[in-house]
């Protein structure tokens, strides 16, 4: 058993509801939202908390939720305390202030002139299961074919530098990076020493130039966006169209505050001043049984060689360049990150315990092939993530978000208002085609057959609700959803982890719902299914299941064994 060694981020804490979230940076790990965490050393030792968001920064409410005072200068060791403990590796402590020092220009070799258009391969991480949906979006918005990687949750596609800004309009991607080099079949050596040595030698041989050019271009794109609206940005970080949420204001401001970029006015893209002090880090993701080394060892050794080669400064928290080393069995990809923090939380400023990633919401919305003037219901909306993403991205439909819980309704309202304010600030009309209602989903106060699409995240039974409750809940809410859904043309897209309960409930409603398609996804480490259903033409109340037996009797079960 080994441990994750995380570093408390020095940013000011993010606010969630009325307590600050702590932030810890793990150099390389498998992301797991919702996972339980326990502090194993330091003043909070023994305290438990739960992960709320992941990415380069792991966020969670500090065990001592009243304050965040200890976040500043201590390093916390965190262990995942679920029933299936994984081994996670210690990383080196990088929490140092870098000394001021000049370094060589990033142009280690001759770079193409700014006018030349390059074509590079862009990689994107997407919610597992929605790779093809993401590829569809790439085809639609960028016009190129994307390739789905064997390493799940990644797609690759070519982009020319003049079209680079378009990648930031993609709503189904969590993170973007530019590929330096891809190895389809990399033959790792038998021994750890040899393998790591080879990785080190690789650093100086890779074709960095084009990728770095794209990285640089990407940075200026972001800067330009921040100042486009005539100096509205009172925030430290430029307002990227896709990236700005209230939460991200205190992200490591790699571009503007790291002391090396001299000013915040618009500047010509390439200035020598910017290249003076490049800080970087290497993030390694490794998957596969046959490797002799760990992700951290690879990151460490490869990073060392990169540092030697470029004379950059290694900095785990305030970096300009993030080099990615993705290893999946024999596939290896070296890339440079184009996004600083995962884009998946872009719309939400008020989180709840089970807030869905916006990228996942987008994937679900795309599945339904929405049409103009479709009326869409989310009867268990939680923080309103799905309707909000829909109202922004598929705005020729109308969304009604509903929940029975006071806090959920309040958070949904706050998220919508927050979004409207942002739109008003940017000069667009603030109004969004979405409304919120407080209701009981098993007794929807909605006219029969008046809804075109139902799309929702159903209670998982782990973080919300319970397995036993789901046995009763699923059939009744599926029936009520069938009632309000338009017969013949209506659809439902339902996300649930309780696949057994759901499948059983659906199988007894053949007169009302037909299963069209299922997408298997990963939500916070839990395997879930997104079920696409079609509403049959059957009139509610007159289908076989209603005529022959009352649903209540069908579900008299002995208690299902509660697992986990």
């Amino acid at each position: 058993m080994t441990w994750l060694h995380g570093l408390w981020a020095e940013d000011p804490p993010v606010m969630a509801e009325d307590f600050p979230l702590s932030s810890v940076r793990f150099p390389s790990m498998e992301p797991e939202e919702g996972c339980a965490l326990r502090c194993v050393c330091g003043p909070d030792s023994g305290q438990e908390t739960r992960c709320w968001s992941i990415g380069p920064l792991l966020r969670f409410p500090p065990p001592n939720t009243k304050g965040n005072s200890r976040a500043q200068n201590c390093s916390g060791n965190m262990m995942r305390s679920s029933s299936s403990l994984q081994t996670i590796i210690m990383s080196s402590d990088g929490d140092k202030q870098p000394a001021e020092e000049t370094s060589e220009s990033v142009n280690a070799s001759s770079a193409p002139s700014p006018e030349t258009e390059l074509t590079v391969t862009i990689g994107a991480t997407v919610p597992t299961g929605f790779e093809h949906t993401a590829a569809e979006e790439v085809k639609e918005k960028i016009g190129v074919d994307a390739r789905v990687s064997r390493d799940r949750g990644r797609i690759y596609f070519p982009v020319s530098t003049d079209k680079l800004f378009q990648v930031h309009r993609l709503r189904s991607v969590d993170n973007l990076f530019v590929v330096v080099k891809e190895y389809d079949q990399y033959h790792f050596k038998e021994s750890k020493e040899e393998t790591l040595m080879e990785l080190q030698e690789l650093a100086s041989k890779l074709p960095w130039t084009n990728a770095l050019e794209v990285w640089r271009l990407n940075r200026t794109l972001k800067k330009k966006k921040g100042h486009r609206k005539g100096g509205h940005s009172t925030r430290a970080k430029p307002d990227s169209e896709v990236c700005d949420t209230a939460e991200q204001q205190q992200q490591e401001p790699a571009q503007e505050q790291s002391g090396d970029a001299p000013d915040t006015e618009s500047q010509p893209p390439e200035t020598a001043a910017e290249e003076k002090l490049v800080k970087f880090r290497v993030t390694c993701n490794r998957a596969g049984d046959k490797h002799s080394f760990s992700s951290n060892e690879a990151a460490r050794d490869f990073g060392g060689a990169v540092q030697e080669f470029f004379q950059w400064k290694a900095d785990m928290t305030k970096f300009d360049v993030e080099v990615l080393l993705n290893i999946h069995n024999e596939e290896m990809v070296v890339g440079i990150a184009l996004t600083e923090e995962s884009l998946h939380r872009r719309n939400i400023s008020h989180f709840g315990p089970t807030t869905l990633r916006s990228t996942l919401c987008y994937g679900m919305l795309r599945l339904c092939k929405l049409q103009a003037s479709d009326i869409i219901l989310d009867p268990m909306c939680g923080t309103g993530a799905i309707p909000l993403e829909g109202a922004i991205e598929f705005n020729s439909s109308f969304y009604v978000a509903g929940d029975n819980n006071d806090m959920a309704v309040s958070r949904t309202l706050n998220n919508i208002c927050h979004m409207q304010k942002r739109r008003a600030e940017k000069g667009s009309s603030p109004g969004l085609p979405v409304d919120t209602v407080q209701w009981d989903l098993c007794r929807l106060p909605v006219r029969t057959g008046s809804v075109d699409v139902i799309i929702t995240d159903m209670p998982f039974g782990k973080r919300m609700g319970s397995r036993k409750k789901n046995w009763d809940l699923y059939p009744s809410c599926l029936r009520e959803m069938a009632r309000v859904c338009r017969p013949g043309s209506g659809k439902a897209v339902l996300l649930t982890q309780d696949k057994k309960c759901f499948s059983k409930a659906i199988s007894r409603m053949g007169g009302l719902w037909k299963k069209l398609h299922t997408v298997w996804v990963n939500v916070g480490g839990l395997h879930a299914g997104v079920y696409l259903l079609k509403r049959t033409a059957g009139v509610f109340g007159q289908t076989p299941e209603d005529v022959h037996e009352s649903p209540a009797r069908v579900y008299k079960q002995t208690d299902e064994k509660e697992d986990d």
Binding site: A372, S373, I375, N395, S396, S397, F398, V400, N404, V409, L413, Q420, S428, S429, P430, G431, L432, P433, D435, T436, V437, Q438, W439, D440, R443, L444, P445, V446, R447, S450, V451
Partner: protein
């Protein structure tokens, strides 16, 4: 609460058969600007209960001389569609209540959100 939403809401108090449309009593109404999409409006009209919409708009003082019955060829009439757009999506009831026409039960509207939850005995 927008009037498009109101057009879909009904009372579901136990025993009630004529719970639609709910009567609006508004103490605060706001008008929010929302981008006009003619295709959205013209495709939405057939899904609406037109009479209920016109009644509700009138109750709030935003009828804008919309006809009691739908005219033919409204799809091309942009002026008409703009009026419908306003009434469907831009006029919002922020505070007030919705009243069941049969039982008289009132559902409060706070900050634009109607609370349609029933008590144990009403379900």
């Amino acid at each position: 609460m927008k009037l498009l939403t109101h057009n879909m809401l009904t009372s579901h108090v136990k025993g009630v058969t004529k719970g639609y449309p709910l009567l609006i009593k508004a103490t605060e109404v706001k008008v929010n600007q929302l981008d006009f999409n003619p295709q959205f409006v013209s495709r939405m009209i057939p899904k609406l209960e037109w009479g209920a919409l016109v009644q509700a708009a009138g109750d709030l003082g935003y009828r804008q001389d919309l006809p009691g019955e739908l005219v033919v060829d409204y799809e091309q009439n942009e002026e008409f569609l703009k009026k419908v757009h306003r009434v469907l999506l831009e006029v919002e009831v922020m505070e007030g209540s919705l009243k069941c026409p049969e039982s008289g039960r009132e559902f409060p509207i706070t900050k634009g959100i109607p609370n349609m939850l029933l008590n144990e005995d009403e379900a």
